[in-house]
């Protein structure tokens, strides 16, 4: 069975399980797939779903990029410098364990209910997890390959981009994957608490009306987008990074 069929089959099984339970429970608290689809079509064509989705996606994208760049840079520095690592290790553990909600609330209180405060709250939540992963990668970088760069007197730029960084790609990919899912969850909370648009805000409104089908429709929409990102961006990137590494011997 090809992997595509495997994934499709999994989706069908999930959908039919949901539908089965909805029939059994037969309650408005557990709407069937058809009702969710109906609600999706309504919100998509007649509601603000497109606007909310694009607003949320923009926030996710901006905070994702900032968090990844900062996290990768700090992670590399902490991975290669023992002293810097000792200095900032405690700080890292503290930031890593501050509840997301606390950072969000503090950012809103200190900087006001503005867009930059929202983005900053998300970034602060995400950076430490990226740092932790990249640091592990930078710690186990192959000394032997770096020595090749040294012996052949490669420039710093060449050493970094052709010898050092490629060893971190798997770690960067892993943290990007984990990062995207964490970030969009946090963005929703940020929107729910202090923004007047976006999916988080919409979900809050739907919650006020107990519109469960609407909530599920939004969830469905967002998960579809994540699946598209996974298939269009992450998977091709995976293949690119795995080049030369997972080949069988000729």
């Amino acid at each position: 069975m090809s992997p595509v069929y495997g994934r499709l089959l999994m989706l069908i099984v999930l959908a039919s399980t949901w539908q089965g339970i909805a029939w059994l429970v037969n309650s408005s608290d557990f709407p069937s797939l058809f009702i969710v689809m109906e609600s999706f079509i309504y919100h998509f064509f007649h509601g603000d779903m497109l606007v909310n989705l694009s607003v949320t996606l923009t926030r996710v994208l901006i905070s994702f990029i900032i968090a990844m760049i900062l996290g990768v840079m700090i992670g590399i520095l902490m991975g290669i410098s023992k002293r810097l690592n000792q200095l900032s290790d405690t700080l890292l553990i503290i930031v890593l364990n501050i509840p997301a909600l606390v950072t969000i609330l503090l950012c809103y209180i200190w900087f006001g209910l503005v867009e930059s405060a929202a983005i900053m709250a998300v970034v602060i939540n995400k950076v430490p997890t990226v740092v932790v992963m990249i640091r592990e990668g930078a710690r186990v970088v192959d000394e032997d390959l770096l020595n090749v760069a040294k012996v052949y007197k490669l420039s710093l730029r060449k050493t970094f981009f052709n010898v050092f960084l490629p060893q971190l790609y798997p770690y960067i990919m892993a943290s990007a994957r984990a990062g995207l899912s964490l970030i969009w969850k946090i963005v929703l909370v940020v929107e729910l608490l202090g923004r007047s648009d976006g999916v988080g805000f919409a979900l809050n409104t739907l919650f006020q009306f107990f519109d469960i089908a609407g909530i599920l429709a939004y969830t469905f929409a967002f998960i579809s987008i994540v699946l598209v990102i996974e298939n269009l961006i992450f998977r091709p990137l995976d293949k690119l990074i795995a080049r030369g590494i997972h080949h069988d011997r000729a």
Binding site: L145, K150, Y152, L154, G244, H247, D248
Partner: protein, 249 residues
């Protein structure tokens, strides 16, 4: 051309109080092919690492043409490590291109043909056999047009025919470029086959126990009668020399 003067005293293993090189002193003439033989663990790799500037000792004098060697920063240096050490994410072509300052497609092509890897330039290292990867590493070392070449048991664990081909290739390349060579091995017949002079090292903490010039005409053969006789004579004189001792019993 590069002449080397090496003097090292008390080199310790990294983060350890174990002395690996006790007292090493030797010179290499310009264009000379010097083989270093010693039992495993005698610090041969450490010695090459020190010449290439990857490791240092507190008491060391490394001179190149009477000036500080400084890890060979002033001239092109080729180092064939014990493992091929190719970047797995770069193709064969890209691996060689990496050590070159400018794009040199023809040079890479010629070199690959010389090491018998014509047409393999677009393969990734993992797609090649171990012997092929070593040949790429040798091509990479020669690509920089090195004035000094360090080789660390480059033909170790290769099958005999491949090793023989590569030895011929190495001798050819060295001869055509006039490079100075320091070649580490634990295979005496390989050293006799290739070297102008052989330096024997003791067990660690090591020092040099014997130096001898291989006064045989080149080209030499793997198991020619002259070479075998030379080896027999040496082994007769110092039966324990390969285990790092000059004792006769």
């Amino acid at each position: 051309m590069i002449a080397l003067d090496v003097a090292i005293k008390d080199k310790y293993y990294a983060n350890s109080d174990l002395v690996v090189l006790k007292e090493i002193q030797f010179s290499v003439k310009p264009g000379e092919f010097v083989a270093i033989i010693g039992p495993s663990g005698s610090g041969k790799t450490t010695l090459l690492n020190m010449i290439s500037g990857l490791e240092e000792a507190t008491e060391q004098t490394l001179l190149c043409n009477s000036k500080p060697l400084n890890g060979g920063k002033a001239f092109p240096l080729g180092y064939v490590f014990q493992q091929p050490r190719l970047m797995p994410w770069l193709t064969v072509n890209e691996n060689i291109q990496l050590v070159l300052p400018t794009t040199q497609e023809t040079i890479i092509k010629t070199l690959l043909a010389q090491v018998g890897l014509a047409g393999k330039g677009d393969y990734y290292p993992k797609q090649l056999s171990g012997g092929m990867q070593r040949r790429v590493a040798i091509a990479r070392a020669f690509a920089v047009n090195p004035e000094l070449i360090l080789l660390d048991e480059p033909f170790n664990s290769l099958d005999a025919p491949t090793a023989a081909t590569l030895r011929l290739l190495l001798a050819d390349l060295c001869k055509s470029r006039g490079s100075t060579v320091v070649f580490v091995t634990h295979d005496l017949s390989e050293a006799i086959n290739l070297a102008d002079r052989i330096i024997f090292m003791s067990h660690s903490p090591s020092s040099i126990i014997h130096q001898t010039t291989v006064d045989l005409p080149k080209p030499r053969t793997e198991s020619g009668s002259n070479e075998l006789a030379w080896q027999a004579k040496l082994m007769n004189q110092y039966p324990q020399i390969l285990s790092g001792s000059l004792c006769t019993d």
